[in-house]
């Protein structure tokens, strides 16, 4: 808990602020943590940008599967012919093994 001992609303450094910014995506910050982060942001434009970037990444990733399907459906996300044949073969083998019982 070394990092946490650095945590004070008045002397949060950028590294500690970035840890809180990341934690805020995972859990509710305590009141003290929220205050410290907010005060740090007020005086630190790069950390303001960082928080916005985390949000940008989160929103972009949340939209990934849909856009992935739309954009890459045809060229990159299809089972290869070999794999398709291999899976069918395995299923047929499993099927005839069961029927043979």
């Amino acid at each position: 808990m070394k990092e946490r001992s650095k945590l004070s609303a008045w002397n949060l450094d950028c590294r500690a602020a970035s840890e809180l910014a990341s934690d805020s995506l995972e859990r509710d910050l305590t009141r003290g943590e929220r205050l410290a982060l907010r005060l740090h942001q007020l005086v630190c434009p790069p950390c303001r940008h960082l928080i916005a970037q985390f949000q940008t990444i989160r929103r972009a990733v949340a939209s990934l599967p849909r856009s992935w399907r739309r954009d890459w459906n045809n060229d990159s996300v299809e089972l290869s012919a070999e794999r398709r044949a291999a899976i069918k073969q395995l299923l047929q083998e499993a099927n005839s093994a069961e029927e043979g019982k």
């Binding site: 950028c14 790069p46 990444i57 929103r59 992935w68 996300v77 299923l91 047929q92 499993a94």
Partner: protein, 215 residues
């Protein structure tokens, strides 16, 4: 997302499942494990497990939904196995140390990314950069990021899968986010800022050339 499942109660010829659902399952897997070969392995295992368990399918949900549920468990198992082979040296190894100076300030301050995420998400080039940046992360950091940001696991589940405490997971998430944002800023947003300010950005533009070299 899928064609309607076969109407007959016995689900048809299992070999036809592959043609009907294979690509959709692969898409689901590829977006979550990143690696094509692994994704195909997981899809294969899913079909075989589905075949063995087909009598458990109760027709209350769509067959496709049932297959996805099996695949999802395969993906989580995959991460769990993966975690056992990962080196867990969080304590000694500090991947983000170069991003800060000794007093804890940024060595390269994060910039203002001007474009909105919605417009980024439309762009498949952007996704290729995201994938490349994720691939460059140390595997245990990429794993933490993917488990949480792709919504595969809760904090508790993700910690269990990785075999670490929730506190350690938050350390890994912090590092993965910082490295990812730094990579995206270099490989995408910097080049984009240039092309936005000079509408006819060409090969002579330093950021474009830099992006071309690193791609």
């Amino acid at each position: 997302m899928f064609e309607p499942p076969p109407a007959d109660a016995d689900l048809g010829d299992p070999a036809q499942w592959v043609d009907r659902y294979g690509d959709a399952l692969l898409q689901y897997a590829v977006t979550r494990v990143g690696d094509r070969e692994t994704a195909e392995d997981l899809v294969q295992e899913t079909f075989l497990s589905a075949f063995k368990a087909r009598r458990d399918f109760d027709h209350r949900a769509a067959f496709s939904t049932w297959l996805i549920a099996i695949l999802r468990r395969k993906i989580i198992d995959h991460y769990r196995k993966d975690a056992r082979t990962l080196v867990t040296t969080d304590a000694e190894l500090d991947e983000v140390a170069p991003l800060f100076d000794r007093s804890g300030h940024w060595t390269v301050p994060p910039a203002n990314w001007r474009s909105t995420p919605a417009s980024q998400a439309e762009n498949s080039e952007f996704w290729q950069v995201v994938r490349r940046c994720l691939a460059e992360l140390p595997r245990h950091l990429a794993q933490a990021f993917e488990l949480r940001e792709l919504g595969l696991a809760t904090v508790q589940e993700a910690s269990e899968i990785a075999g670490i405490t929730p506190r350690n997971l938050s350390v890994r998430l912090h590092r993965s986010r910082l490295l990812l944002r730094s990579c995206l800023e270099q490989k995408w947003f910097a080049a984009e800022a240039v092309s936005a300010s000079e509408k006819s950005a060409d090969e002579s533009s330093p950021a474009r050339a830099e992006q071309a070299r690193s791609s």
